[in-house]
């Protein structure tokens, strides 16, 4: 395992350096994140001016929900699959395939590097906003924080698997943006990133419950907000871990199948 990490950790390091090399892009994305969060906050403020509780969420909980979603989205957003689909479509995946490395693990370690940089800045932003806008005191007990931390890590891995799986679709469609966009919309709706799943009709919630997406966003928020506690929380972690294993395995199989279809143009 140590040997494995030693071989792959360079991808994390290089991605971080690369990300930081673009200082302006880096700043712009931080500002965009901030604006996106503030828009949601203002929207909810209008709605909460009429009522104090909406679908079981009070103002405090709703804003924390928004902030956690923002943190998760910033940590692993578009970039993993954009990079992947670009590599597939312009053929630069060819060099990666001539290396003695597992492509999926390589992509994971790259995504990790990206996430450490993006997630790091988003975390600062989110904590600042949480402190100014909400009352955090009910949520700061060590047990639920620890559970939440584990849940976040699993959510990151699952988000990676979903993005990776989506990116591999480019082997078949030769249209990068469409696939990425479609995957994003499906994920946003079913994961609870757009709205808490409690806002949707019962049949939709049942459907979302059997799909992997909710385990990447919705379930971690429920742990943090203390809406699911104790044994229920542990069950969520187990479910997340299960989805990670399932999606990682499926992605691996899908890659092995897809790579046979590869046609690299030119040269």
């Amino acid at each position: 395992m140590r040997r494995f990490i030693r071989r792959y950790i360079g991808f994390t390091r290089c991605t971080m350096e690369e990300r930081i090399a673009y200082r302006k892009g880096f700043l712009v994305s931080a500002v965009l994140n901030m604006v996106g969060i503030l828009v949601s906050v203002f929207l909810w403020r209008v709605l909460f001016a009429q009522e104090s509780v909406i679908q079981g969420y009070d103002w405090n909980q709703m804003i924390l929900y928004v902030l956690i979603v923002a943190l998760l989205n910033a940590t692993l957003g578009f970039d993993t699959e954009r990079k992947l689909s670009k590599g597939i479509l312009d053929g630069s995946i060819a060099s990666d395939l001539t290396k003695p490395i597992d492509f999926q693990s390589m992509s994971f370690f790259q995504a990790l590097g990206h996430s450490l940089v993006e997630g790091g800045t988003a975390l600062i932003l989110v904590v600042l906003l949480a402190v100014t806008l909400t009352d955090l005191s009910p949520y700061l007990n060590p047990v639920s924080m620890a559970l939440f931390a584990v849940s976040l890590m699993l959510a990151f891995m699952l988000k990676f698997c979903l993005a990776y799986f989506g990116g591999l679709m480019c082997f078949f469609t030769s249209n990068g943006f469409g696939v990425v966009y479609l995957r994003q919309v499906i994920t946003d709706v079913f994961s609870g990133a757009m709205l808490p799943l409690a806002f949707f009709p019962a049949w939709f919630q049942r459907l979302a419950g059997v799909l992997p997406f909710q385990a990447s966003v919705y379930l971690p928020t429920q742990i943090f907000l203390g809406r699911i506690e104790g044994r229920g929380a542990v069950r969520i972690l187990a479910l997340q871990a299960l989805w990670v294993v399932v999606m990682w395995t499926l992605s691996g199989l899908f890659f092995r199948f897809a790579v046979k279809k590869i046609t690299i143009q030119g040269g």
């Binding site: 792959y8 360079g10 090399a21 060819a94 001539t98 290396k99 003695p100 040269g267």
Partner: protein
């Protein structure tokens, strides 16, 4: 050692009729036609050989290289690189090979070259001693230390290609695939690239498979040529043997003042003239056996049928041999 048997690769290409109507028709019921990029190719290469794999654009060179490196899955046929099927055991095969695609870079664009190298060192688990020794060699021939601290984006094409070749050799691969490694480079950089390739071939016994349109690369580096055209191999010979077969003839290029379509056929009928064809409307290319004619006699002979504006003797060169091979390939196809 590489062995390739009955290797074939077919691509499905969409057939899109022109215009909006065609585009919609394709969307509803896509039609495809099969293009054979590589057709039943056979060859084998021993460890330590330096082989040029050449052919016109679109002949199937890169497709073959991509199959040999495990990127593309062959439609049919068999490949063994050092006893390994490169597509089925891609990762295992990748440990032993080095690859340069002249049209792409494997360096990270926005971080210093040495960081890319450090990453490769980790991936291949290159021992420090080997890594340092190799860097020393690359420095000696390439002057790598001048630009190793800069990001790939800031390098000139020549520097970038030197860094790319070095990157492909860091882990002492036993087999190296070079797909147009000198494309677009100036003469100085080309020389340096050739020198390094030659040295690892001669001193370390590394197998070299090279594609290039620059036949000087071929001449300097390789001892054997495989020519592919239209997906088929049309020639596979030692360069020394080719020289024997083709270079015994001398060549003349004669510029004529009038059009002479039937002239080549008339000349070809004569003994001792091995080749005669119009290069373009006014240029006649003619090859003859020096023991039977002097160049002057050939000019005199041609002068009987057409007025001559100019003529020059063509040195026997690989370039001319390859030209001839391409042409004979076209004729037989």
């Amino acid at each position: 050692m590489i062995s390739v048997r009955k290797l074939t690769k077919e691509f499905k290409i969409p057939v899109k009729p022109p215009g909006m109507k065609g585009a919609i028709r394709h969307l509803i019921r896509g039609e495809y036609k099969v293009k054979v990029a590589v057709e039943s190719v056979d060859f084998s290469i021993e460890q330590g050989e330096a082989v040029a794999y050449i052919g016109p654009n679109g002949a199937g060179k890169s497709t073959t290289i991509k199959m040999l490196t495990g990127i593309l899955k062959p439609t049919s046929g068999e490949i063994l690189v050092n006893g390994i099927d490169p597509q089925r055991h891609r990762i295992q095969n990748a440990k032993n090979i080095g690859v340069v695609f002249g049209q792409r870079t494997q360096l990270w664009w926005d971080i210093p070259v040495e960081e890319s190298f450090a990453l490769l060192k980790n991936i291949y688990e290159v021992p420090d001693a080997v890594y340092n020794e190799n860097l020393k060699l690359f420095n000696e021939i390439f002057g790598l230390s001048e630009f190793i601290g800069r990001s790939a984006r800031k390098l000139s094409l020549g520097q970038r290609m030197r860094a790319d070749l070095a990157a492909a050799l860091l882990h002492n691969p036993s087999t190296v695939f070079l797909d147009e490694p000198t494309i677009g480079l100036d003469i100085g950089t080309k020389e340096a690239m050739r020198e390094l390739i030659q040295r690892i071939n001669r001193e370390k016994g590394v197998t070299i498979i090279l594609t290039s349109h620059d036949l000087k690369d071929v001449e300097d580096i390789c001892r054997r040529i495989i020519v592919i055209d239209g997906g088929r191999i049309i020639c596979d010979k030692e360069i020394s043997q080719l020289t024997k077969e083709y270079a015994m003839d001398r060549g003349l290029q004669i510029t004529l003042l009038d059009m002479q379509k039937e002239l080549p056929a008339r000349l070809l009928g004569q003994e001792g003239i091995s080749y005669a064809a119009m290069e373009d409307a006014h240029t006649l290319e003619i090859h003859f056996k020096p023991e039977m004619y002097t160049a002057f006699e050939i000019v005199e002979e041609v002068n009987k049928y057409a007025r001559i504006q100019d003529f020059r003797l063509r040195e026997p060169s690989i370039e001319r041999m390859i030209e001839k091979i391409y042409r004979s390939g076209e004729q037989s196809a």
